[in-house]
């Protein structure tokens, strides 16, 4: 199975371990990823909150190139998935908008390709049975909280990955990998990552609330599919803990890193050394690495 790969800017920088683990896990599961040639930024939050046209045009350029490749798009980053999907839906709904965007990007766009988050590729195109069949080190005894955040699940109609209030798809994948999922309240509460640099004190509050709830439910780590959530919950964790006069030490991992371990990929190839809250002591304690 071949897909056009849209890593996005974060996966080439702060979320490099998501990129590395995505590529390795995909190889292992028989997903062939062909990078979209010369892809450009999806515009993140900045484009669509400043200009409605730029917010569609930036992702549309990448969709148009993927269409030339004749492949559906796999986008591991929650923000990229959201923006590519939103642009696609908006152009589908509004023929005139599509024409204007074609004029802006000076490329043909017919709306032929689908945009899938990597988790969806694994669920619907690989299948959980295939994941179970490939397990080498099931994540037995590892209690984790799946954290979805905003961009993958909201709003319905713009994205259609999972339920906006109680998503379960990351839980399903991690359960298939042998993990023990906690049932918790803050799966989709916003972590405020977009305010990390501009309203840090607000963002620290939101991070604290999420980590507090995960810890209360007995989670030993958090698993996510969003580079902004990961960075925020990991890097602002110490500040949040200080503010709440506690100590969380909750590693925040990409689901692909843990899935990689379960599939028997060498721990050294999954970027486990690039987190602020080091996940390795926990993984060693559980005998997983």
């Amino acid at each position: 199975m071949k897909l056009a790969y849209y890593p996005g800017c974060s996966l080439c920088g702060t979320a490099r371990e998501y990129n590395i683990s995505t590529i390795k896990v995909s190889e292992k599961l028989g997903i062939e990823l062909e990078e979209i040639p010369d892809w450009s930024c999806c515009g993140a939050t900045s484009a669509h909150t400043s200009s409605p046209l730029l917010g569609v045009a930036l992702p549309a350029r990448n969709l148009a190139i993927a269409e030339e490749m004749g492949l559906d798009v796999a986008a591991p980053c929650a923000a990229c998935y959201h923006n590519l999907s939103a642009a696609r839906v908006k152009m589908d709904r509004d023929h005139l908008l599509r024409k204007r965007i074609e004029e802006i990007i000076d490329r043909k766009y017919r709306g032929k390709v689908k945009v899938l988050p990597l988790a969806e590729v694994i669920l619907s195109r690989v299948g959980l049975d295939a994941v179970r069949d490939s397990l080498v080190h099931p994540l037995a005894g590892l209690k984790m909280a799946a954290y979805y955040g905003c961009l993958m699940v909201r709003p319905k109609g713009i994205v259609d990955f999972d339920d906006p209030e109680n998503p379960t798809k990351l839980d399903q994948i991690m359960e298939a990998a042998g993990g023990e999922m906690v049932d918790w309240s803050h799966k989709t509460e916003c972590c405020g990552a977009s305010l990390s640099l501009t309203g840090t004190e607000l963002c620290v509050d939101l991070v604290g609330r999420i980590l507090e709830r995960a810890a209360e439910e007995g989670a030993e780590c958090i698993v996510t599919a969003c580079p902004f959530c990961q960075a925020n919950l990991d890097m602002r964790q110490a500040e949040a803990a200080t503010k709440l006069k506690t100590d969380f030490r909750l590693p925040v991992l990409y689901f692909t890193q843990l899935l990689g371990i379960a599939l028997g990929l060498p721990a050294g190839e999954l970027g486990l050394d690039s987190h602020v809250v080091d996940p390795r002591p926990l993984l060693r304690e559980k005998g997983l690495i």
Partner: protein, 191 residues
């Protein structure tokens, strides 16, 4: 005598414009407050989303253009998915932010950084085609004067290879520049 009719008329036009941009109908709002109740940042807002809806309904929507809230909104869309009247509440907040920009409204000092980051981000993408994370953080430091903010975090990230020292420039930079220019032309020179 004050001509309230004219004010309300102009306000209604503004509401129509916001409705159009957000692809929604604010008049459906029955003020239940689910949006404000579920908003993770309501506690930091001056006027919450429910109040914003009411201002727009009564033709006083331009008041909201001065609010901190439209810049604090993280566009998390919780309000939108929970609205029992299916109003695109987050889309309205976004449309207001865009209007505040277009009309040159002064941004409240407390949220000035949101605007700075957005401009730096869009500038970086315009120049390189992709975002240059380290450049963005440096730019924020220069523009806000907070030179030491998060330094303790930046150094380990550099050492872990999570921050590239140079921007990655795509080949199609001229194409990106053309996209920006055309958008500016179509949106009337604003961005």
């Amino acid at each position: 005598m004050l001509n309230l009719q004219a004010t309300i008329g102009a306000g209604r036009e503004f509401t129509d414009e916001i409705n159009h941009e957000a692809g929604t109908d604010i008049n459906r709002c029955y003020q239940c407050g689910t949006c404000s109740g579920g908003c993770p940042l309501f506690y930091a807002m001056d006027i919450g989303p429910r109040q914003v809806m009411r201002l727009l309904q009564t033709g006083l929507g331009e008041e909201a253009l001065r609010a901190r809230s439209i810049w604090i909104c993280a566009t998390c869309d919780t309000c939108t998915v929970r609205c029992p009247r299916e109003i695109n509440v987050a889309g309205v907040m976004e449309a207001l932010r865009i209007q505040a920009r277009r009309r040159g409204y002064r941004i409240p000092a407390a949220v000035r950084k949101v605007r700075i980051l957005t401009d730096l981000f869009l500038g970086s993408v315009r120049r390189s085609g992709r975002i240059f994370e380290l450049g963005l953080v440096q730019g924020m430091k220069m523009r806000t004067g907070e030179l030491l903010k998060d330094v303790g975090m930046g150094i380990p990230m550099l050492l872990k290879g999570k921050l590239s020292l140079r921007p990655h420039r795509i080949r199609g930079r001229a194409e990106i520049e053309r996209i920006y220019r055309k958008v500016q032309e179509m949106e009337g020179g604003s961005r």
